[in-house]
């Protein structure tokens, strides 16, 4: 509005001052003429810089999925089909009641809408979506796994998730005729050289693994190393097949993306697609002078894949949670990481691990992986511990940030109630199909 007024005044002054060109004040005509050139260049709703930012956020329909060098079947359709069946199979849990899909429910954008995940037992953290996870480098809220396949293995043996063991998972593959056939078509014969066959097929032990109950661990320790490695090999391949399936779960472009495509294709053309409130909210979101949203929520997933401390760590009480600071240590110890013997990558391809910042300094305490902002309308509640049911609460959390260390990296974020509504409106424009 202000710009329109100034342009109108200028036009009036140009017509008026032109008569006095030969007098001293004629130079103002020139000033206004120059201003007119400037304003015609920026007359559109978005500046060039803003357009570049919007372009960096849009989702391409054919956005390529990054390679996964540690998983040789990552892009195999057969592996994805096999992995999809495993993903929905409740028999792979200790009580036969929980599958990957129990928490990552397809009809809910692959979340469960619970405050904290509910598996075989109660979990400490909120279930994140796995849509678009192929584009990420770190998994779990604290990044304690460095590939989708290594992540997919962890719930099988986590006592509160599926509570099973790698022995039981491998046995299922060996005994289910269909699974065994699908597995062997992808990875070759089970039990090469007969190693591990007796242990897996005998059913003398129900469970054995290095991460489960005391009994499970004791059983695992009784196996000779070649048997452990044979079981681990099959177990790792199960994870790789599930990862191949999960990599097919790609986010779909939304109304926001279509708006930006239009903006880019027709040279700043403004023809609707986003409401005035949504546009105002987008401007707040991308304005680094006003908000810090874009610092962490950047790129087409609206997530930079990194770990940041916004003051949500739980440092006392019964549910201690220090976030990334332990995730850094855990991923280095994980035998299924990119540098481990079950990885298909060359060491030089494991760049995330090779160049991992191991300095577990204070900012990593209470730092969590930045979640994406697409389809927020389906993925409530929010934050690593699901503490907020509504988007308004999330925005208010940021608005309440003080300039002190309790807020981690956050800085004060001052917007009016009206602008908070506009910001919410913009965020929800990322939820439409």
């Amino acid at each position: 509005m202000q710009r329109v007024v100034s342009q109108t005044m200028c036009r009036w002054w140009q017509s008026y001052s032109y008569q006095y060109w030969r007098s001293g004040i004629g130079f103002l005509y020139l000033v206004c003429a120059l201003l007119a050139v400037e304003s015609s260049a920026t007359e559109s709703l978005w500046s060039d810089r803003e357009v570049r930012i919007l372009a960096s956020l849009r989702l391409h329909k054919d956005m390529p999925v990054p390679d996964s060098p540690s998983n040789r079947v990552a892009n195999s359709d057969a592996a994805a089909a096999f992995g999809g069946q495993l993903f929905f199979d409740k028999r792979l849990s200790r009580n036969g009641a929980i599958a990957c899909a129990s928490c990552h429910q397809p009809e809910r954008y692959f979340v469960d809408n619970l405050t904290k995940a509910d598996g075989v037992g109660a979990n400490m953290r909120n279930t994140p979506t796995i849509v678009g996870s192929a584009y990420l480098s770190w998994f779990y809220w604290d990044g304690r796994r460095d590939s989708l396949w290594a992540q997919a293995l962890t719930p099988f043996e986590a006592p509160a998730e599926m509570g099973s063991s790698r022995l039981a998972v491998v046995r299922m593959i060996a005994q289910d005729k269909h699974y065994r056939s699908a597995y062997e078509a992808l990875f070759g014969p089970l039990f090469q050289g007969g190693i591990g066959r007796d242990v897996v097929m005998s059913e003398k032990l129900s469970h054995a693994g290095p991460l489960g109950s005391k009994e499970d661990r004791r059983a695992w320790q009784s196996f000779p190393r070649p048997v452990k490695q044979a079981i681990n090999e099959v177990f790792a391949n199960v994870g790789k097949a599930i990862a191949a399936y999960e990599r097919t779960l790609k986010p779909a472009p939304t109304r926001f993306d279509r708006y930006v495509e239009t903006l880019l294709s027709k040279e700043k053309r403004i023809d609707g697609g986003l409401s005035n409130d949504e546009i105002a909210g987008a401007k707040i979101f991308i304005d680094a002078q006003r908000s810090q949203c874009l610092q962490c929520h950047n790129g087409p997933l609206f997530a930079n894949g990194g770990f940041h401390n916004i003051g949500t760590g739980n440092f006392d009480g019964s549910e201690l949670d220090f976030g990334r600071v332990f995730g850094v240590r855990a991923v280095l110890l994980d035998e299924f990481n990119c540098l481990g013997r079950y990885s298909d990558a060359k060491p030089t391809q494991c760049r995330e691990l090779r160049f991992l910042n191991r300095n577990a300094h204070v900012p990593l305490e209470g730092a969590y992986k930045v979640p994406g902002l697409r389809q927020l309308s389906q993925t409530k509640p929010y934050m690593h511990d699901g503490r907020f049911e509504r988007l308004e609460q999330v925005i208010d959390f940021y608005r309440a940030a003080k300039d002190d260390s309790a807020n981690g990296e956050l800085q004060p974020f001052v917007i009016s109630d009206r602008e908070a509504d506009q910001l919410k409106a913009f965020l929800l424009s990322l939820s439409d199909q």
């Binding site: 960096s56 940041h308 160049f355």
Partner: protein, 139 residues
């Protein structure tokens, strides 16, 4: 476009931040060489790969006051965003010596726009120096 840039000023402004899936690359500007009375440190980077969210390689060249290549040397690099109170998401490492005082640095990665500060430590025979560099990464 495979333009290489040598930084010739303490502060470098790089335009053209793009995300991995974004094709909107722009040209980059460059002007800088960080000098102290004892050492000159130049930073080369591949403009087309200076983007948020992707690994990139840098080359750091180090020469003494007489213009002689500093080699062998132990080069350490650390960085972060002072304004945001966090370090780099990665720990870049010198992985190769390319000759003529030039060292390859791998593992550079940025996860957001803004001003990134770097400290480059040079530890060589008869030379121990620390230089700082600010770099503004913008859209």
């Amino acid at each position: 476009m495979n333009k290489r840039i040598i930084l010739r000023a303490l502060t470098l402004v790089v335009f053209g931040l793009v995300t991995p899936m974004n094709a909107m690359a722009r040209d980059t500007t460059s002007q800088a060489l960080v000098t102290t009375p004892r050492v000159a440190v130049a930073l080369e980077l591949d403009a087309d790969h200076f983007i948020v969210g992707q690994f990139q390689d840098w080359v750091i060249s180090v020469h003494d006051a007489a213009g002689k290549a500093v080699y062998p040397a132990r080069i350490g690099l650390a960085g972060g965003m002072v304004a945001h109170g966090h370090g780099m998401p990665t720990q870049p490492l010198v992985t190769d010596y390319l000759g003529a005082g030039r060292y390859r640095v791998e593992g550079m990665k940025f996860n957001m726009a803004g001003t990134w500060g770097f400290v480059i430590n040079i530890d060589a025979a008869n030379l121990r120096e620390r230089v700082t560099l600010d770099l503004l990464l913008d859209y």
